[in-house]
Amino acid sequence: MQRVGIIDDDNRVRFSVQVLLEVSGFDVETFASAEEFLASQDFSRFGCLIVDFRLPGLNGLELLRILKRQQVLTPTVVSSGFITESEEADFIAAGASAVLHKPVEPNQLVGTIKDMLTLGGDLQDPPYSEAG
């Protein structure tokens, strides 16, 4: 089962989302900042990332751009408080698969993560692998 990475500086939110995803059957790893996540190396273990918009140091958008440059294709969900439509468009342009608004409805979060993991599986499996 592929892992979900949570990048959020608020330890209350980090913990709550972690336990929710864990009881929902996901394997979870958490990070308090974008820098901490980037330092963890080898992103292939993640099937999906949940990134907070506002982070100390590198913010969510900057993290997405770095991942895009490094050609990390892991599907990413951005969770944010108030953001404008143009900010939301920036996230999508930077590679976000979905933007969820805080407080995120738990069923929506779990549903989105499930979809992402399926999507990620499709993307990361080499196409026509059976043909070889």
Binding site: R12, L20, G57, K102, P103, P106
Partner: protein, 412 residues
């Protein structure tokens, strides 16, 4: 015995009398001197400054009489005030149908002779009482004596006019204070309005945690996955998130609450500390490094602490906004406090681009637009500081940030 008919505009007259706020006040030398002189010069045993209210005449000054008041029904003065521009003179009360059966004539103090000059208020021109001389012997009053009594009455009237003016000034000052207080409160509400986006974001955090935790418990319930240790941790976290949300609201409510307009001795360092706590979330979100350099001992001022905190919050928020375009690593807010002679000085400096308007214009309401990061907030700040007998000034150099300096008198 006919009672004196009530003057036509009695409610106005009583209003004018009450406005003076003089009834039942202690005696005052200036009024005492006038009645003493009146008695001496008119050669009567009794002289009074009598004020007529609804039910009685009350004596602001009395010479030769121990009573402080008598019922209005028996008062000669109640008759005198009906003709505010003329003296009332009764040479022999025993033979005057208006007064012959008056208990003050038939019994003590056996009034026979009465001469009273009405006293009229300045703004409403209302007769509120008299300066009068009284004797227990029927007699005449010479022209000279009447002239003297009139001059003395004018003096008494001048004293009352002075009191009237003082009262009006005090009322105006009180109203002004109320207005300034209300303005300060509106300023806090408007500041709170500016914080709405931040506060909703902040509230979103515990609410997100609460919904995720309760959903977790729901899933565990469905899976019959109850484990004592695990659930108690989750419940603990839930309670923590709830109280966190409560704290956010309490803090905001505290800030906009209608504080009493009183001044008390408070510590400027403590106010600055509370402000840093209040804006902790905004500060972290805006990635501003706060450098506190406060005096090591308390800096006591005589102030309304809620108003001073409002000024501090305003200046902090302005600074955050001013540094919006600055690299996060360069965003610093320096707060210093110290005592300089008899003054307490607070300086709040940002590392923004400096003020876009002249240093003085920053404090003029509506002069600047919100795009400059300065609104009417600063003009309210400057009024609050003025109200505290202090001063606030701004200085900035392009590219080197802005510094706001507040000076308040040290509490005696």
């Amino acid at each position: 015995m006919p009672e004196a008919p009530l003057p036509l505009d009695e409610p106005v007259r009583l209003g004018a009398l009450r406005g003076l706020d003089i009834l039942d006040t202690p005696s005052e030398g200036a009024y005492d001197d006038i009645v003493k002189l009146a008695a001496e010069l008119c050669e009567t045993p009794i002289a009074l400054i009598s004020l007529v209210d609804e039910h009685r005449q009350w004596f602001k000054a009395a010479h030769g009489l121990d009573a402080k008041e008598t019922p209005r029904a028996f008062a000669f003065c109640a008759h005198a005030i009906h003709a505010p521009t003329e003296p009332l003179i009764v040479f022999n009360a025993e033979q005057d149908p208006r007064f012959s059966d008056n208990p003050l004539v038939t019994g003590e103090p056996n009034i026979r002779f009465y001469a009273g000059i009405p006293l009229v208020t300045k703004s409403d021109q209302q007769p509120i009482g008299t300066l009068c001389v009284i004797s227990d012997e029927a007699r005449e009053l010479s022209d000279e004596q009447l002239k003297t009594l009139t001059v003395l009455a004018n003096h008494a009237e001048k004293l009352l006019h002075l009191r009237e003016a003082t009262k009006q000034l005090m009322n105006q000052q009180f109203e002004l204070q109320q207005q300034q207080h209300e303005l300060a409160r509106l300023g806090r509400l408007s500041l709170a309005g500016e914080l709405v986006a931040e506060v909703s974001h902040e509230m979103g955090q515990p609410l997100y945690a609460i919904s995720a935790l309760s959903a977790t418990l729901e899933v565990m319930n469905e899976q019959r996955g109850w484990e004592y240790g695990r659930t108690s941790v989750l419940i603990g976290r839930l309670q923590e998130a709830c109280s966190h949300a409560g704290q956010i609201l309490t803090r905001l409510r505290q800030f906009v609450r209608n504080v009493p307009p009183e001044f008390e001795t408070c510590d400027v360092n403590e106010i600055l500390g509370t402000t840093v706590e209040f804006l902790d979330f905004q500060c972290r979100r805006n990635e501003v490094d706060i450098q506190l350099n406060l005096a090591s001992s308390p800096l006591k001022v005589h102030a309304n602490s809620a108003h001073l905190q409002q000024v501090a919050v305003n200046l902090f928020i302005n600074a955050f906004e001013a540094m919006g375009d600055v690299e996060p690593s360069e965003r610093a807010l320096r707060v210093t406090s110290r005592q300089e002679d008899e003054s307490i000085v607070v300086e709040i400096s940002d590392s923004g681009p400096g003020l876009k308007v002249s240093d003085e214009a920053a404090f003029t309401a509506f002069r600047t637009t919100k795009a400059d990061g300065l609104g009417m907030g600063l003009s309210i700040c400057s009024r609050i500081i003025e109200n505290h007998s202090g001063s606030i000034s701004a200085s900035s150099r392009t590219g080197e940030g802005a510094t706001f300096r507040i000076e308040l008198p040290k509490a005696g």
